[in-house]
Amino acid sequence: MPRRRLRDALAGKAFSWMAFLPLVIAVAMLFALLARSRPILESKSLWDLLAGQTWKPQQGEFGFYPFIIGTVWVTGVAMILAVPPCLLTAIYLAEYAQPAVRTVTKPLIDLLAAIPSVVYGVWGVVVIVPWVEDYIAPFMGKWLGSSIPLFAVNNPTGFSILAGGFVLAVMVAPFIIAVTYEVMHTVPEGMREASLAVGATRWQTIRYAVLPRARPGIIAGVVLGSSRALGETMAVLMVVGNVVKVPTSIFDPAYPLPALIANNYGEMLSIPLYDAALLGAALILLLIVLVFNIIATLVLRTVIRRSQ
């Protein structure tokens, strides 16, 4: 075999082995975290870990419940704040905006996605937290707080679930907008034309022809966005208060799982089982994100493929 062909064949082999690497990394990640958190999985029942409310590493009590609930709250608030404006923005860009607006917006959204998470955190601390503390909390607490526990204000500072939700909402916005925009583009132009031809307005076309068809892809995009929000660490950690308590109101502080890991990595090797517990927290996070991502990615892929 000429040397050139040999080299080509060798490169082909090497490349195809390397292509396995992502799968290897994913599996290794799962097993490494599982192995490291085994001590705690063996010494406590899964129920005690997931539903336990006390977190006292020194006394060997590791209840993840407040952290899991904190993660759910912050992510939930973020998605409630982010999804409506993001969908509307994406629909606007895909269906209404002039080409000039689109060309300007694409780099803007890329920029928003490029801003590092600590910078979002700084913005949260400087702008969002005082805003929640001085305006939103007093206002909502006065009008809604006494009748609806969800809006009760028991927290004198603005470091709260709502602040975390605001910051996260802006962070996941570029992602949700990009996915929705792309999904809207997979809807065949003929469907719009057919709807417009029978006299529907633009909005009616979007509502009755485009959106129903784009729905699975949009939902997948929102799921992907929320899995981003779920694992976001630094920005949330900086504004959410980090108090180990099950929150009952959006003005309460919370302590999401990523913040737990990031805040305590320093002392985790000096207390027994602590490292296993924190790496177990990373494992919980990884498992949730894997499930979300695999399902959503498969849905998105089918949607995009169907249109090609």
Partner: protein, 288 residues
């Protein structure tokens, strides 16, 4: 009469939704503006030459003299090393997906895994990097940080290069094959050269993600006031410099956190804008 009213109603509905869309759009664009404004307004007054050219002196974190040169250099080392390492993995995988893969199914699986890896939170990469370092007996160091960041950057870079290579004109590739080139030669001398602008953009995209990430280097790279002299020394990074300085109770130090955030934002935006400019320049090697 009824019909007319119904027709009017649907235009009102259209108007309402359109107004909401424009409002949402302005809201999103506005938040970008507000974030950049906040960082500039807070950061610029605190920024001075000493911040950029000195490492922290004694008592720096109490408000005494010094700068964040350690973090700037550290971040460049970390992100630079990680990007290089990620490129060594990403480019072959992307070329494999373009030129070698034998079945669509296999390509699908590789792409799916990449997408899933991309979605894994950076704190999990940090925790995983930490378990790797425990296994290898490494301490928090530049090397540990580079490995964790490279893992984080790899899926981003691979998918970005993969998307770029899909745009490769097939006839150009076939012309190369027709002249008797092997797949490897075609990949190296035709595909890469033709697609260089896009590949550079993809690399810089990953670099930007890497330099801004804090959660993955938290465990793995440590933090130090010195500029590292070896791969096995701990290293400071800009995102952590922002985080730690903001966490101190001293307003003087907090102001430096704002300045550090400005420096970080500037680097990230410069990389992002620079990659567009570079892509346009490198386009001259491509056959139109």
């Amino acid at each position: 009469m009824m019909k007319k009213r119904r027709l009017a109603k649907r235009h009102i509905e259209e108007g309402i939704f359109k107004a909401m869309m424009v409002f949402s759009f302005l809201l999103v664009a506005g938040s970008l503006g507000i974030i950049l404004m906040t960082v500039i307004i807070k950061g610029l007054p605190a920024l001075n030459l000493a911040m950029l050219t000195q490492t922290p002196k004694g008592g720096y974190y109490l408000g005494k003299e010094g700068g964040i040169l350690n973090a700037i250099i550290g971040s460049l080392y970390l992100a630079g090393g990680a990007t290089l390492l990620a490129l060594l993995l990403s480019l072959p995988i992307a070329l494999y997906l373009r030129s070698y893969v034998s079945s669509d199914r296999r390509a699908d699986i590789v792409r799916l895994t990449m997408d899933v890896l991309w979605g894994i939170p950076s704190i999990v990469y940090g925790a995983f990097g930490f378990t790797l370092m425990l296994a290898l007996g490494l301490r928090a160091s530049l090397l540990g940080g580079i490995i964790a960041l490279a893992l984080l950057e790899m899926p981003i870079m691979t998918r970005a290069i993969d998307e770029v290579l899909r745009m490769m004109p097939v006839d150009l590739e076939q012309a190369s094959f027709a002249l008797g080139s092997t797949r490897l030669e075609t990949a190296l001398y035709v595909v890469i050269r033709q697609m260089l602008p896009g590949i550079v953009t993809a690399i810089l995209l990953a670099f930007g993600r890497g330099i801004g990430d804090a959660a993955s280097v938290l465990f793995t790279a440590g933090y130090t006031d010195r500029i590292p002299t070896s791969l096995l020394r701990p290293v400071a990074s800009l995102p952590l410099a922002v985080f730690f300085q903001l966490g101190t109770p001293f307003p003087e130090v907090q102001r430096r956190a704002y300045a550090s955030a400005l420096v970080l934002t500037f680097i990230v935006l410069a990389v992002s804008l620079g990659s567009r400019w570079l892509a346009a320049r490198l386009g001259k090697y491509a056959i139109k």
